[in-house]
């Protein structure tokens, strides 16, 4: 008899029961696979779905924020430092937010008058609202003096008011051209110190004062009396641009200063001149004058990309390591496990520090930071894969594959690994918040300095915010809010995924 079963000609085959009726019922419903099933379970978990939406929103924020923000991360303003959120068009509607508002306690009458003077001169009223008044009695030279103090909400951007600026003649001319073109009054008439009791450190005083503390000398209607200088001989340069209201052409707009001119400038309009736009800081500015909105976006981009990269690398290394451990078991497992154990016990702070000290100069800060995360990060993943392999390697289909002569690597990655994939990917998602949290902590502490590479990072922003926490809480609040939301939703999302993939372990913390 012919024993050659390998090459049976095709014609010799025939159907056993082509016409017979199959007595099995057809599936009425559509069958869904492992992942579809998990997805259905996931959708039932409301908090995870919400978390997933928040993650998507935050990712979109991270992508778009630096694009929306009109500022570059390198752009830093020297004056607008730690100022609150401000958008002019919203501030003008007086709705109570986005107005750069800050509450000042116990402002005296003089200070209130300065605010009024600023409003009159620059056209932008820094005073948003008076929140309260208080009478304070003090004993002065044996007499009781009542001083009134106010609690006010002030627009910090407008309250900058007027600044002195020394500039070259060309610059002076350029600003004049800008003024002619746009109609914004940047340069204001000069006030000589000798006319205002010698006060030379407060450019906001443009009115007659009655002492060297800057108490305004009001006229009988309670109005300011201008003290603008008219001495043409002191003027630094020719001025032929728009003049302020009430100027009959006699005021001088600059003051000569050895080869340059000193001016009083309206800083808000000067900002327009320098940046070609008015200030718009959706989250406010931080302690080095960066736009916080764009900065949080930049930091978020880095955190997210970095965390995903780390978790992908860890997944790869951990999966291979864990697969070898779990599949071969025995002595291999024991030795590999001891190595993992030892690495696992090295404190992460130490790893990160040593990598920074040794490698940062050679390969750069970010790669060495990445190595630090990878060095110990894969261990959790390896342990998980190993556990899954122990679970599956004794099953019949593995035996069947072995019987058919499949190679070890094929059994490991074609047969067992896909079954463990759900669990592994889930824990991969749970690794991301861990990485973000560690990254934020290390940059917060200043152990790793990413500013040169990424411009900034969430941790850096928070440590900058922490420093000026009492006066400008927004600088800490926005990065903190972002990172908290991100971590919470990643954890909720990861837990939901885990429950969806392993319904049997629901509610049991792993």
């Amino acid at each position: 008899m012919d024993q050659n079963f390998e090459h049976i000609p095709q014609e010799k085959f025939e159907f056993a029961q082509l016409d017979a009726h199959i007595h099995d019922t057809k599936f009425e419903t559509k069958a869904h696979g492992y992942f579809a099933d998990a997805f259905i379970r996931f959708k039932k978990n409301k908090s995870s779905v919400v978390a997933a939406c928040i993650i998507i929103f935050l990712v979109i924020f991270a992508i778009l924020a630096p694009i929306i923000s009109p500022y570059d991360i390198k752009q830093k303003d020297n004056i607008y430092v730690n100022f609150g959120p401000f958008i002019k068009s919203i501030a003008d509607t007086e709705v109570g937010f986005f107005d750069g508002g800050v509450v000042y306690d116990s402002q005296n009458e003089n200070q209130m008058l300065v605010f009024r003077a600023m409003a009159e001169e620059t056209g932008n009223d820094p005073l948003i609202k008076i929140l309260g008044e208080q009478d304070k009695e003090t004993l002065k030279r044996g007499q009781t003096v009542i001083t009134k103090t106010y609690k006010v909400r002030v627009n910090k951007y407008y309250a900058v008011g007027v600044r002195y600026l020394v500039m070259s003649y060309e610059e002076f001319q350029k600003i004049q051209d800008f003024q002619n073109e746009t109609g914004y009054q940047v340069i204001l008439p000069y006030v000589e110190a000798k006319d205002i009791y010698g006060i030379s450190d407060n450019p906001n005083i443009w009115y007659k004062v009655s002492d060297n503390k800057g108490t305004p000398a009001l006229d009988k209607d309670g109005n300011f009396v201008p003290a603008y200088s008219t001495s043409k001989s002191k003027a630094g340069a020719e001025y032929n641009s728009i003049r302020i209201k009430g100027d009959d052409g006699s005021y001088i707009y600059s003051y000569s200063k050895s080869g340059a001119v000193q001016c009083r400038i309206n800083y808000f309009n000067y900002y327009r001149y320098v940046n070609n736009r008015e200030p718009m800081f959706i989250f406010g500015t931080n302690s080095i004058g960066q736009d916080l909105f764009g900065a949080v976006g930049i930091g978020a981009r880095f955190s997210l990309v970095f965390a995903i990269l780390v978790s992908a690398i860890n997944l790869t290394i951990g999966a291979i390591y864990g697969a070898i451990q779990g599949y071969y078991g025995g002595a291999v497992d024991l030795i590999l496990d001891r190595i993992a154990d030892i690495l696992y016990e090295v404190p992460f702070m130490v790893v990160a520090t040593l990598f920074q000290l040794h490698l940062a100069q050679k390969v750069g800060v970010v790669p060495s930071f990445l190595f630090a995360f990878v060095l110990t990060g894969w261990i959790g993943m390896a342990a998980l894969t190993r556990k899954q392999f122990y679970r599956f390697k004794g099953q019949e289909y593995v035996l069947a594959a072995k019987t058919l002569g499949a190679k070890d690597s094929r059994i490991m990655f074609k047969h067992i690994f896909p079954n463990a994939l759900g669990t592994i990917i889930t824990s991969c998602v749970l690794v991301i918040p861990g990485v973000i949290s560690s990254e934020t902590t290390l940059t917060y502490l200043g152990i790793v300095n990413l500013s040169e590479f990424a411009g900034t990072s969430i941790g850096v922003l928070m440590s900058q915010g922490q420093a000026a926490m009492t006066t400008s809480p927004h600088a800490m609040f926005f990065p903190a809010l972002f990172v908290s939301l991100l971590l919470i939703s990643f954890n909720l999302f990861g837990n939901g995924l885990r429950d969806a993939f392993n319904p049997s372990t629901r509610g049991v913390e792993d």
Binding site: E345, L492, V508
Partner: protein
């Protein structure tokens, strides 16, 4: 059991030895900090360095390092932060603050965490349970410096209840010191409370559904009696070791909190030694934190081994 414990301890020392050696060699490979020329300590430090074998092969240096520790408890001298002082002395001086802050936060967290956990487990699958579980999740996710910020801003600045920073001095148990420690303690506690709640809830739910609980109810105990006498007892067997593990664990978690609230403890010393490149200090604190980590895991492992003999070495998750 004794064999298992011994095995774990031997393994722990082995791990510690290897980690110390790796870190030591890596640290010594870095160029040593320059000694200022005019400082009167310089001569002494140069001599000490010579004695510590700075110009010899790394393994010899490591041998000297280990020998000094075992014979004289000498960890070297600080070459930057506390120029010329003994590292071990400074470390011991800084230790009480860290321990006390952590101890307070554990003491605060244990009752709150366990009670919340029990409550959630008893009300399993009701809105109370969901609320507590979600809250736990949220609290665990948020990094501790965010709590520090919230506490500093609202409690210290807005309400003025606490000082911003921990006050100086060594009067560890005076009321003023206690109040000034509270912000740091609170910031640390959030995470710890959530951790306890989670452990207790997970454990108690499992115990409550086991068969001996059914038996207890069948023999006529009320639900309350059964819970207190049987379920809680069994649950505590797991929770108590977790408390020890957690206590040792938060010592290493308090780095940032110590820095923010100016706690004169080991954590801020560690960060300063990293940022200031004080290698002998860094080395000692590295060993300290490694020991802390190892102790935490060994305490939990061994106590689990006591409770459940099925847990053997190598069969960890």
């Amino acid at each position: 059991m004794l064999k298992y414990t011994l095995q774990r301890i031997v393994l722990m020392f082995f791990t510690l030895f290897i980690i110390t050696m790796m870190c030591f060699i890596l640290v010594r490979m870095l160029p040593p900090v320059e000694i200022p020329i005019e400082d009167p300590h310089s001569v002494v430090i140069a001599q000490r360095r010579e004695a510590m074998g700075y110009n010899k092969p790394y393994l010899v240096q490591f041998g000297i390092f280990i020998k000094d520790i075992f014979t004289r408890f000498d960890w070297g001298i600080s070459d930057k932060l506390y120029f010329g002082q003994n590292v071990a002395d400074i470390f011991i001086e800084k230790l009480p603050a860290t321990i006390i802050v952590n101890l307070y936060s554990i003491i605060l967290s244990i009752p709150i965490g366990i009670l919340l956990g029990i409550w959630a487990a008893l009300k399993k699958n009701t809105w109370i349970d969901h609320a507590i579980s979600t809250l736990t999740m949220v609290v665990i996710s948020v990094p501790s410096f965010v709590y520090a910020f919230l506490i500093q801003y609202f409690l210290s600045y807005k309400l003025g209840w606490f000082p911003f920073l921990m006050k100086g001095g060594t009067d560890w148990f005076s009321p003023a010191m206690f109040v000034s420690m509270l912000p740091a303690v609170l910031s640390l506690s959030f995470g710890v409370i959530a951790g306890f709640t989670r452990t207790t809830r997970a454990e108690l739910t499992e115990v409550l559904t086991s068969e001996f609980m059914l038996l207890a109810r069948t023999k006529g105990l009320t639900r309350r009696q059964a819970t207190v006498r049987h379920a809680l007892k069994n649950c505590m067997v797991v929770v108590v070791p977790a408390i020890f593990g957690e206590f040792i664990g938060i010592m290493s978690g308090s780095l940032i909190i110590e820095k923010i609230f100016a706690v004169p403890g080991v954590g801020s010393l560690y960060i300063n030694s990293i940022n200031g490149r004080d290698y002998p200090m860094f080395m000692m604190l590295t060993v300290f934190y490694t020991v802390i980590g190892l102790l935490a895991s060994i305490v939990v492992d061994i106590s689990y081994g006591f409770i459940d003999p099925r847990i053997r070495m190598g069969s960890k998750k």
